[in-house]
Symmetry: C2
Subunit: 306 residues, 2 copies
């Protein structure tokens, strides 16, 4: 039996700008992993079915479960959110099932200031599967275009908040006077990053005025043009860490972890360190673990351990 033939389940993390797929064996080991640019806003000719065919090309015809923006208004089909606070088990029975592809519901906060996530809930589930010690009380941080901070209490997501850090950084570097004035390509400037993080600590000034200091510091010769990028990154991450801890942090004995792409998570960890806050542990991307766990819990596939 070939390696591919051992595949019993396909998991997909289908976001706005990228599509990731994993073929799993019956024990949850990843046999093959693939990534391409077919996010829901960048589909190939033939749309969702064609993208699905391509990412699973050559893989066996096994159950498929997807998380992310594929379940949004602009996705393959719209799947209603689950409302926060929600237990991790609630997702098992809330999967939107279909013969071709099942979809994980997103998570919604219905407070005065509402919020939404699609895809990150599956990473959170994966993190709690991998690390059961996080279930009682923890803070889970998921850096990205729209970074999510989620508070876990007694195996439930009790609250969360989205920060536009990644998108703001991209807008400022590509379209603003700050980015236009800086040399491209930038070099990594550790000192500029540190200065950005430290400057963000003075919260009274506010982000909007802090951002302009990227220009005035450059004009004053105190950051180099090629360091503007790291200064802005430091400002935005520092601001996010300060606000995130104020909103969702907990002074009691509490675990914090960072999920997602390693390089970005290391950058966040450094911001915590510069601010003098306890540095969260880096867990990597846990969407694959979350998808496999959900598929088994929802009996999309046979449990190997029963």
């Amino acid at each position: 039996m070939s390696r591919i033939e051992k595949g019993v389940f396909i998991g997909l993390d289908w976001g706005t700008s990228s599509l990731r797929g994993w073929l799993f064996d019956s024990e949850g080991h990843v046999l093959v992993a693939r990534t391409n640019g077919h996010g829901i806003l960048h589909l190939p000719e033939g749309g969702f079915p064609a993208a699905l065919k391509q990412i699973t090309d050559g893989w066996p015809a096994v159950p498929i479960l997807a998380c992310g923006m594929v379940g949004s208004l602009n996705g393959w089909r719209q799947v209603p959110y689950l409302d926060c606070p929600v237990s991790m088990e609630a997702f098992d029975s809330a999967l939107d099932r279909a013969p071709d592809i099942s979809i994980v519901p997103g998570l919604r906060l219905t407070e005065k200031l509402p919020d939404v996530m699609r895809g990150e809930e599956t990473q959170i589930i994966g993190a709690l599967v991998r690390r059961s010690d996080l279930a009682d009380a923890s803070l889970i941080i998921l850096p990205g275009t729209h970074c999510k901070w989620a508070r876990i209490s007694k195996n439930r997501v009790v609250s969360f908040r989205t920060f536009m850090t990644g998108e703001l950084f991209s807008l400022l570097m590509h379209h603003s006077i700050l980015g236009r004035g800086s040399t491209i390509p930038s070099v990594h400037d550790e000192e500029a990053f540190r200065l950005g993080v430290r400057t963000s600590r003075e919260g009274e000034t506010g982000l909007s005025a802090h951002l302009f200091s990227a220009r005035s510091l450059m004009l004053a010769g105190r950051i180099k043009p090629e360091g503007v990028r790291d200064y802005l990154s430091g400002l935005l991450l520092g601001d996010e860490v300060r606000c995130g801890l104020a909103l969702l942090g907990d002074q009691t004995d509490d675990k914090a972890v960072l999920l997602g792409e390693a390089q970005l998570c290391r950058r966040y960890a450094k911001a915590f360190e510069i601010l003098g806050d306890p540095v969260p542990e880096l867990l990597g991307n846990t969407a694959d673990t979350g998808l496999f766990h959900l598929a088994r819990a929802a009996k999309l596939i046979e449990s190997d351990t029963e």
Copy 2:
């Protein structure tokens, strides 16, 4: 003698994206006003001299004084900043004189978090000329792409701060997921603006997380897609007013004024009102008054009152 022939002085407000010109008579009355798109980044063929020729076409050959980005690194010629705190009289002797065009120096703050302005200093001078009661103690707010807040004490600019509000709004509306999701053209949505301003008051959440609420409130049906624009405007202005007052406001008996384009200033005034703060008086654009005053004080033109 024709109206044009009475002209004794030309003032220019030469910014990044627009060029405004005024022809004055000897008493400081504006005989003709012109505006075009020849900001320093949008010059016609022939560059600065051609743009100058065009904006002054048909006007007499009289002394010319310009303020704004025309004196920056990317301007006609770079004019050194004056350093804050600075008295209004310091500008008289600091004009960069030349036969074709004289230029007003910008203003620089050399604190730990530095800042710069070019053009707004001339509006501030104009405001203090028009309203001598502002000279002792006041707060001058100049909305725009990069909004400036300046603190006046004993006829000096003692501190100021730039907020990127206007540029952030434009970036978010044109390039972000928030703007892309909203209907264009937007309709004015007073209720969405109010909600944005009120939401901004919870400073602990921070601007980056507040911005994403434009999306989550729309998804929740609590603001209309065509109201996203006004919600964002309310969020950004509310945030700026909160931070600006914290940084540069003064609890003592103190005058505050808004300078610049009337419609934008009214929007700021409304944000103050919603936040329950004393509403600044609207003075309009005072660059013309500032330029004429400087020209006379620096003896670029004969004083009519001597």
